[in-house]
Symmetry: D2
Subunit: 363 residues, 4 copies
Amino acid sequence: MSSMIGNTVRASIFGGSHTEAIGVVLDGLPHGEEIDLTALEQQMARRAPGRDISSTPRKESDTPRILCGLLDGVTTGAPLCLLIENTNTRSKDYSDLKIHPRPGHADYTAYVRYGGHNDIRGGGHFSGRLTACLTAAGAIARQILEKRGIHIGAHALQIGPVQDRRFDPVHVQDEDLMRLSTGYFSLLDPEKEAPMRAVIEEARQALDSVGGVVECAVTGLPAGLGSPMFGGVENELGRALFGIPAVKGVEFGDGFGVAALHGSENNDAFCYDEDGKVKTLTNHAGGILGGITTGMPVVFRCAFKPTPSIAREQQTVDLCKKTDAPLSIHGRHDPCIVPRAIPVVENTAALVLLDMMAGQSML
Amino acid sequence: MSSMIGNTVRASIFGGSHTEAIGVVLDGLPHGEEIDLTALEQQMARRAPGRDISSTPRKESDTPRILCGLLDGVTTGAPLCLLIENTNTRSKDYSDLKIHPRPGHADYTAYVRYGGHNDIRGGGHFSGRLTACLTAAGAIARQILEKRGIHIGAHALQIGPVQDRRFDPVHVQDEDLMRLSTGYFSLLDPEKEAPMRAVIEEARQALDSVGGVVECAVTGLPAGLGSPMFGGVENELGRALFGIPAVKGVEFGDGFGVAALHGSENNDAFCYDEDGKVKTLTNHAGGILGGITTGMPVVFRCAFKPTPSIAREQQTVDLCKKTDAPLSIHGRHDPCIVPRAIPVVENTAALVLLDMMAGQSML
Amino acid sequence: MSSMIGNTVRASIFGGSHTEAIGVVLDGLPHGEEIDLTALEQQMARRAPGRDISSTPRKESDTPRILCGLLDGVTTGAPLCLLIENTNTRSKDYSDLKIHPRPGHADYTAYVRYGGHNDIRGGGHFSGRLTACLTAAGAIARQILEKRGIHIGAHALQIGPVQDRRFDPVHVQDEDLMRLSTGYFSLLDPEKEAPMRAVIEEARQALDSVGGVVECAVTGLPAGLGSPMFGGVENELGRALFGIPAVKGVEFGDGFGVAALHGSENNDAFCYDEDGKVKTLTNHAGGILGGITTGMPVVFRCAFKPTPSIAREQQTVDLCKKTDAPLSIHGRHDPCIVPRAIPVVENTAALVLLDMMAGQSML
Amino acid sequence: MSSMIGNTVRASIFGGSHTEAIGVVLDGLPHGEEIDLTALEQQMARRAPGRDISSTPRKESDTPRILCGLLDGVTTGAPLCLLIENTNTRSKDYSDLKIHPRPGHADYTAYVRYGGHNDIRGGGHFSGRLTACLTAAGAIARQILEKRGIHIGAHALQIGPVQDRRFDPVHVQDEDLMRLSTGYFSLLDPEKEAPMRAVIEEARQALDSVGGVVECAVTGLPAGLGSPMFGGVENELGRALFGIPAVKGVEFGDGFGVAALHGSENNDAFCYDEDGKVKTLTNHAGGILGGITTGMPVVFRCAFKPTPSIAREQQTVDLCKKTDAPLSIHGRHDPCIVPRAIPVVENTAALVLLDMMAGQSML
């Protein structure tokens, strides 16, 4: 089930960096939902490369074509297939990689996994290009959630050593999420953009790359979403988020920070708010207890490793000659994928949450 | 699919803290595998409570009874059902909790999720008691993996402020894993046990609890295990590990540490070792690239929040009167679950990895 | 996923004819549903052997023990595990079968499938005994459906050459279904019982067995249940019904009879009834079009092969000596399983329909 | 999971009769398999309409375009997406059907299921057009099976009152299957073509349609394929075959004929053949015992109802005015779909069997 996800709303993702097209089939979408293609394309544009010097200068035609599943802009309930043609593929750049797997990439593991039959061009089905499908699928899911008052926004919490401030997990504002989820290089503190760009530019000039952390928040989720053990929000989001290439860690609420806390610090006291709703005074739990939403904002973070494609010479092996060999990667690569990963994280979360809401008859 | 996990080897977990019994059905186990019940009980004993002052003084009869699936100690290929009777349940302790949900527990979210019909006694199906099922299922899986030379061991990397040293991810030793995976309060540096116990004891005396981090390593996995996107080792382990109560973060390799790294630091150079096998010189990736094993040790960490059950008075709500209310939790609770969580993490990983190996015909 | 079924309400069945116990875990049951254990036991009794000369004289203790998932007789929403101890097992009868596979049984195919490690005693996990689990699971599901006005009843349509009359698929009466679904050897025309019993008795005295057909009807299902392609009522029921040992054919509505019909005969004209509801004037479709219920009664039939265990000498092979060999089966066997299969068909259908209703938020 | 099927090799089917395109994603295909596109197109041609007067005069461009998953004609192991553009769609024919649901079609049930948002044009996602996707997916699967010596062929066993002879289930010949699986209007006894065509022509001239039965056989399957209970060959094939529009019954081996048999007649005696392989002297079981293949030919039959689209005036309802209303269907329709259904049945079986073989590591 490698490229399929979801239980009730199921996504099946296909394509590779240099195949004719990439795309996604969404099976089980609720019917009767109006889909705004402009809003969909807006999300695609946030992920698209080539926006500025911080990202790869490749131009990808990311305009999705919806082949079926919509009639007059409204979901029919039948599977929706969304296709993105790959128009700007320069396969020559990649001819050498099957013999010389790139450090930090899936070249070698895919070679072993698929007996050398994998499509190595541009990383094939392992390419970050596939996040366009996740983004598109999630952008559709997001619209359905937004009509139910659920908002999702993320920001670059960290790039190299520079940190944005964290969400205040008790008081996440819908307006902030709306701003974050429509912008590029989204930040809670816009003053961090300059130093973060400086770190990226420094890496770029050093023929290097740099990692980071994306933090995401979701408001408007009703209490009671999720199921115990393996059907919790953390399980489902965790499984999906680790599907975004380069993610090496996922944490919810205080995450790894809980290790140093006492129960008396970490427990979120319950209280009634002025509207007679149960809330928590703090939100160390990130809106999730026992895998199930509390009704407080859901907050989580994903760690992104630095782009493995760097122009510096690196050491690898020659799988033909069975010797060590130097490698210089040419081509067009992001020195930091975090800015473009922000919409990917948001929309992946939307896809997962829509699936969970649908599965619990909560739409 | 909340309490079911796995694609090829599927586990279905049932029971609650105070039900007649808890247990697990394993469907799709490979046939013809000899299961050593003594080794199984050894794993159960590592997780069992009441071993010392650091854990709850409750005594649980954790001896599993295998109802079917084994014949003369060998798996038949039919579903295996393993049952653990709940003999020592004191339901009176919990009578009040449906009205006064415990902060940090699933009481409130389960109440909303199940319309108040959930079994609140001892946390019901959300209880840490259910990790006995995960441990038992994984202990069976582990034996099948060990025959293929795959070893899994974990240790308490952190409890409160005290840290054990990390695995050297390039040179994880099978012997270390064997020692860790048979001991209690496993540590790479045994000298850390005293200060860690001190932190726990301090929390206990303060009617409080404390969190921690478990680090786990797996050796002997062949390169090529896992699939792209959502079928990777990170996705599958991530999904399962977030099913262990109290886990709030999961990371692989350098995990959140990658955010501060450059590509030139984080990329693991490939090389041939003396046996003509492809290795990496470093192992920031934690043995996983593109979701697929590299053949290097797999290393990951889980953050555990402090036990929410603390004896101090806390603030909660009265769901009947719809007012805020104080809460004092009585009963028997672990001031720190990390020591007992170590075997849970290991065995959960075993269950996931066996499922993945079986699914790729790698057994 | 051999012994698991269901998407939203999932059943995991375990055990074998001669294991300590058999049982089923139901994951995803709706919460807050009162379960009447007497009604559950009534269904078990309908399936239990030893009722009269037409069935095996074995006595099985079929009283189920519910280990978890119920609190004060009401579903909690957590997995429900139902256990049936195997008390009356005489393993000696079966010692020879691994070498001499019984014709018509799964002995040989299980031997190949599981490399000889399968539990051959009493047919192991292939035993008709496992239908007790299906019956129990379905008996719980049935109660939830009945509260929504959905009734399920079946009868012996055919045993050997003797036929009961078919359901009138337009006018299936709830009272008939209630009568059928609580009786033993259920028939629409009770006058057929004597000739059917005569056929069975004749077979028994001839050391032989005889096959038959069970016809089942469901009333009260709302229009709109089911999904296109592989998620239709026919797909889901078909998959489950072929899981009842001995079923070799499944048909809906006119079934194989449609082959000889013209469209003008087979099409069911739509009309409004006196209550302003859409109905069909005829019901050749068996209440299902495009996999989705029309709101008319659902009608289907299952063909049961004659019990393969017959006392006559038969020819088989000796898997040790690799020669042909004669075989005489001793022990206690049903000369016709159709009477006991009636409740199995009904309750299996209940399980499937509950799963589908839950998956479409129709409960 | 309505339009997805498979556990290891998973197909996700999308599109409708009048959407831009239809297609299928195959996830989990074995890698390194050469796919012959000419053979694929040959299967598509067998299903394509407009071949002669017995089928609809519509011309559909059924040439599939493979977007990804193949590199130099060899499977890469990544998802394969196959697209078929819908070029010849005349939507005007169908404008009226949402108000006047066609008897025997899914118009009404889809209307209820999807709250009227379903795409009614040409039957939408319920159209027989979707069997092009099944055929294409199965045609790929078939090639992989054929390399392992597995052959699949079907024929029109019955059309109206005319019957072809049945397979001799003990001696199914590979050459027969190869002939059947490459021809059009395949028959075991070619002399039956004329009378069958006469029946179809008679129905056509009477503005009517006629049903039939397709019988299919599979040779070369190893013994041991399938799993007990719900994972058997009968369950998996049954579930998939009921996904072919118009199928109302599925039976294996002697099927419904077993009802009239004694065990002594129905049991297939085991014996060793001259090569020392276990065979059965007869094959009433259709090559399947306990859901698992015996190594004998697998034989099954599907009943197809007469095409519901007939030109005669019929009675239906007006869903707007809520009155009964007459209906005359115009447009182009098959008076009998059985000839075109033959390759659909074969290739659907191929898809299911490949999935099962892959899941048991038998490729």
